[in-house]
Amino acid sequence: MEFKGVKREWNTLKKDADARLKDAAPYVKEGKIVDAKDTVALLEAVIKPGDKVNIEGNNQKQADFLAKCLCQVDVKKIHDLHMVQSVLTLPEHLDVFEKGIAKKLDMSFSGPQAKRIAEFLQEGKLELGAIHTYLELYGRYFVDLTPRVALVVATKADRNGNLYTGFSTEDTPVIVEATKFRQGIVIAQVNEIVDELPRVDIPGDWVDFVIESPKPFYIEPLFTRDPALITDAQVLKGMMAIKGIYAEYGVKSLNHGIGFDTAAIELLLPTYGEELGLKGKICTNFILNPHPTLIPAIESGWVESIHSFGGELGMEDYVAARSDIFFVGPDGSMRSNRAFSQTAGHYAIDMFIGGTLQIDPYGNSSTATATRVAGFGGAPNMGCDAKGRRHSSDAWLKVGDEYGMKEEMYGNVRRGKRLVVQLAETFREKLAPGFVEELDAFALAKNAKLPIEPVMIYGDDLTHIITEEGIAYLHKCRSMEERTAAIRGIAGFTEVGMKADPKMTKHLRETGVIKTATDLGIDINRANRSMLAAKNVHDLVEWSGGLYNPPAKFRNW
């Protein structure tokens, strides 16, 4: 047999990177250190038109200085970049498209810039690849979206390029590994260059340049919820969730998102949860950011472990002092590697619970609106049934055993199912309906020319919806018709709920597919703020024994 390989060079990426590094050499001051004032010149030396470029932007820490500098490069030298980054938060993330420096975008989440992305798409200033989940985008970093140049951010560096990302590690490891091991170039902005690091989070030989930024990187206290703003209605929903779902299924491992609804649940554990005798039976293992509102439950002995996607401003000392609970390094500070946390969120937890803006009669739910390209971050990654899961737990098996379509779908194999729960209201603030016949995601797909509707949680993954009308146990339904009837049955007086057939709703209540607060034995008169284990941020500081140090904007005493 004759082996006929193609004739080509096999190390062109490496050669190209070496040439770029040579062009950048004049800007290196010492070791791998480049002066902040030379950053724009450095970027012009190492970035080429059409490159895939990552600006580290998570939902918390931001490579803000490097983002600003990228906006200042000469568009004649650098243009048509393909930005591959998880979060677009800063105006600069979109300014690069405005200026023509960048052309294409692949991302996960865009929060404050969502409206501008939609406008740029309309105006042809931006081409959108896809809106991913975090884990999905990280996966593509290792397939077809590998950055040629990564602009990352760390807390500290030494002169050899070793990085300390510490408490706010987030996306840095996954970006650097994908970039460097495919012969890309890694530039890090750091708050401080020091002689000795507390620990090495990223080895120096994976980093090409370090720059001490003029100001510390921007970080948002995204997961801090002031208990003073939790309403009686959120307490009611929390009581329904704890009794109707957490207790019913014995949910031990779970994720809580960002909202006030789950903050209320966290603060009800030491009070209502304790009263129901649930300590040790639910909420023992969390995948979430260090939420200050979880402090009372941790201090009351509810929680065994927490792995975090990122840090949270003010929680550094508290977390460091609770190394039995959080993942803390030998130096004493937490490491929060988002890729691992998302992996855990996909495979290793029994429940995802969160909020949404709209749910349709099939159970599809989305936060997409017609004029904002926002994405969903990690929600779809956790808010789905992980089909690759092969370990069992009581909660997972119970949902699987109750699954109304299991014979049709599974045959005679016993399978479990993740609890995917949406906390909704029939009408939200300004009386925007929480249930609609068609999601705004359809209008957005049309406006932004997306091939698929941006749905956050697919209906076939959704197992439960909680509204003031009751809980719908959707997984118990035996057909789409029954599922739609169950959704209409708890959708109140929205257009979706108005179509409910009262006889069918009654039948679903009798068969346990719908349970109201009364069916669950919840005393609605007790749904008030006095049930919360902490009433304000000051109470959280007290619970923490003074270890929680809230940011100034949350200090009102």
Partner: protein, 110 residues
């Protein structure tokens, strides 16, 4: 803030009035409302007056209060609601809490 006043009348199957002569619950604060209930001989009917800044939700107010009256067999009661943009979950909760309060024995918390 322009306010709308809505007036409705409802009839439950087996109406039963409240224990107290009158009772009051809640605060007209942002996103919340106050409910006043007064025992009145209305031939078993319930009258409701809603003062709200919300426009275009008259039919939903009527349906919500009707559901409350029918499900709880409320009768011979005059209900007054002073609303400040409460969502249905709050209305639902406050009406039920107000009824419990109106039926609580003197000196007893509902």
């Amino acid at each position: 803030m322009a306010l709308t006043t809505l007036e409705f009348e409802f009839k439950a199957d087996a109406p039963k009035s409240i224990a107290k002569e009158w009772s009051h619950l809640g605060v007209t604060g942002s996103g919340d409302l106050e409910v006043l209930m007064e025992r009145k001989d209305l031939g078993g009917k319930t009258k409701a007056k809603v003062v709200t800044p919300v426009v275009g939700f008259d039919a939903i107010w009527e349906k919500m209060i009707n559901k409350f009256v029918v499900e709880n067999n409320v009768g011979d009661v005059s209900i007054e609601i002073n609303d400040d943009n409460a969502t249905p979950i709050v209305v639902y909760m406050r009406l039920r809490q107000a009824l419990a309060e109106a039926n609580a024995k003197e000196g007893e918390q509902a």
